[in-house]
Symmetry: C2
Subunit: 393 residues, 2 copies
Amino acid sequence: MYSNIHMPKGFKCAGVSAGIKLGGAKDMALILSDFPATAAGVFTQNQVCAAPVKVCRAHLEHGVARAIVMNSGIANACTGSEGMVAVRDMAAETAKIIGCEPQEIFVCSTGRIGPQLPLDKIVPGIGTLFESALIEHVQETAEAMMTTDTRPKVSVAQLQIEGRAVKIVGFAKGAGMIEPNMATMLSYITTDAAVERHAFQNALKKAVDASFNRISIDGDQSTNDTVLALANGASGVKTLDESSDDWDAFSRALEKVCFELAMMIVHDGEGADKFVTVNVAGAVSDADADQAARSVANSMLNKTAWAGTTPNWGRIMDAVGYSLARVEEEKVGVFYDDAQVVAGGVRTDIAVEELIKVVSQTDFAINIDLHLGDGAATVYTCNCTEEYVRINY
Amino acid sequence: MYSNIHMPKGFKCAGVSAGIKLGGAKDMALILSDFPATAAGVFTQNQVCAAPVKVCRAHLEHGVARAIVMNSGIANACTGSEGMVAVRDMAAETAKIIGCEPQEIFVCSTGRIGPQLPLDKIVPGIGTLFESALIEHVQETAEAMMTTDTRPKVSVAQLQIEGRAVKIVGFAKGAGMIEPNMATMLSYITTDAAVERHAFQNALKKAVDASFNRISIDGDQSTNDTVLALANGASGVKTLDESSDDWDAFSRALEKVCFELAMMIVHDGEGADKFVTVNVAGAVSDADADQAARSVANSMLNKTAWAGTTPNWGRIMDAVGYSLARVEEEKVGVFYDDAQVVAGGVRTDIAVEELIKVVSQTDFAINIDLHLGDGAATVYTCNCTEEYVRINY
């Protein structure tokens, strides 16, 4: 699927089975930069966060990275001091092989909350990643990140800066479970551009806000959510910052990669078979629009109605009404794609068949106009089927 | 089921089929007081609220009630000015038969959002309620309130005040759907006590906060949620207020009735077959404890794990962590009933079989201690099964 996609210059990657998951599925991945790379990162806001998240946050202070090493199958969350030791061991082992400082290694985990990592499998796994698996194409690495994702997720952007080719390659895994586990969103972005550290962090934060932070599968925020970005400068371009002529082109490319990966995550939402874009316009503020859009996107009654191919606009009105956004019922307009079902807070005379036609699609939009101001926001979500419940039993 | 339960003195009630629902199910109910009753009410906080809620709020200003008239099948929500006219017609028709002012009539609806009420069925239905159906026992009335409730819900309290028998009878309907519809919580409390108006409103608000406001089925707040209480004084006792010797006994009885009805609603949650009590203690404040408890109770990942009989304590830690409550991971304790699975933020060595034994029950508690202060709160919820999704397609 992604076997013909190669990493940016100066990056290698690997994905192997270290025996953490049952059945021999790939469960460890490595992203390695030949040169010290500028690092940026965005992490879960959850007050209960995994040991690797705590260590990544600390290592990000250092600002330079050589590698990301990760495992799937076990989240290393709620594992106390033993879990912290395991992360430091993973970083130290990787750093020893590379010959760099441990704080230049970012460690991630995803999978079951609670168990301790099996270091007797992970330490040899790190060796295998380096010794026999380092490659320049991305398929195996993306596969090793998966939990109940049904497919690997990779996005690529290429641009010209100062006449040189610059590449961005991003990986992600989505909200998925393995056994009775926690969903985790992980994403790694690599680029051979050189980017000034603070500009890179700001650009990543902005790209994440417009992508991963705009999607919702089930409203649960993981202990492990992590987005890391590494820029190693191997393309040979001058260091980019916000004053560079090419800054807009670079940050747009970064945003595109994040956005594509985020959309892949929603499309692969657990048990989901419909992709729904919720647009809210006319709010008092963008923040209000965001509240209203999230309320509609997270409502179980909306998600199940979409699963049932039912144009239940009443549930949309209800969710808008109980959101924290300011709403005046008699001004609200609601559309399924372009088909307007609510005007001035009451139903239009559009035929229900027109609405059913829209919600029968695998990809449609709910467009809401509050008619109160200029605030707007979009949230991307999916339907909730019986399969979601079965997956999460 | 409730055929041997009689109304408090001076109340009659009725439940009939007026042809709003298909198939001849009962769909209109009446609660009538022979005397002007003191009224109290608590309504949905949704900014999009049904026409009858708007009219009930206005009539509550008047403070005196003779009757509650309600229909199930259509919610009369998002129905604009035509919906308001329909509510006023229902109140006027009922008032005309009784010979009272329209503002002494409370009107409620529950069912599908959007359609206009069929007044050609409802006006004759009001006549039928009075002419042929008025009775003193409660079964038919409770049945007529139902949508996809699987059983009617009635609670009774009796107490002695000044040597006289005082009775409280409460009705409720729960979160249920009919066709693709909005869940609505309705409850009516009747008593033959005489109660001073403001004290009654305060007592009802307090009872609702400790009962209906502590339950969660799916986190969606309806456009129609309404609790109304009528006290007609027919028991002959002196008017109660907060300074009365018997005030505590009365308000406790009122709380008991509200609490029992709220528990019945959770037990009859859509598709649910497990009742789960989420207790949070040791929070910085009661409000923090409430945030943490709601976060756990509303998490789809917890609700589906309970459905799968899986003691997935990681999802509990996760939901506590992303709640708005202050949490220090390394202090958190989690118990399934009395079985402690987390101490100091990490798993204890309790056998998983002990935990499975707890979550295999149809009624169990999740007890969480944040070990930060004295704040405590409880939320009552249920599991989420595939059946929930099917019901709401």
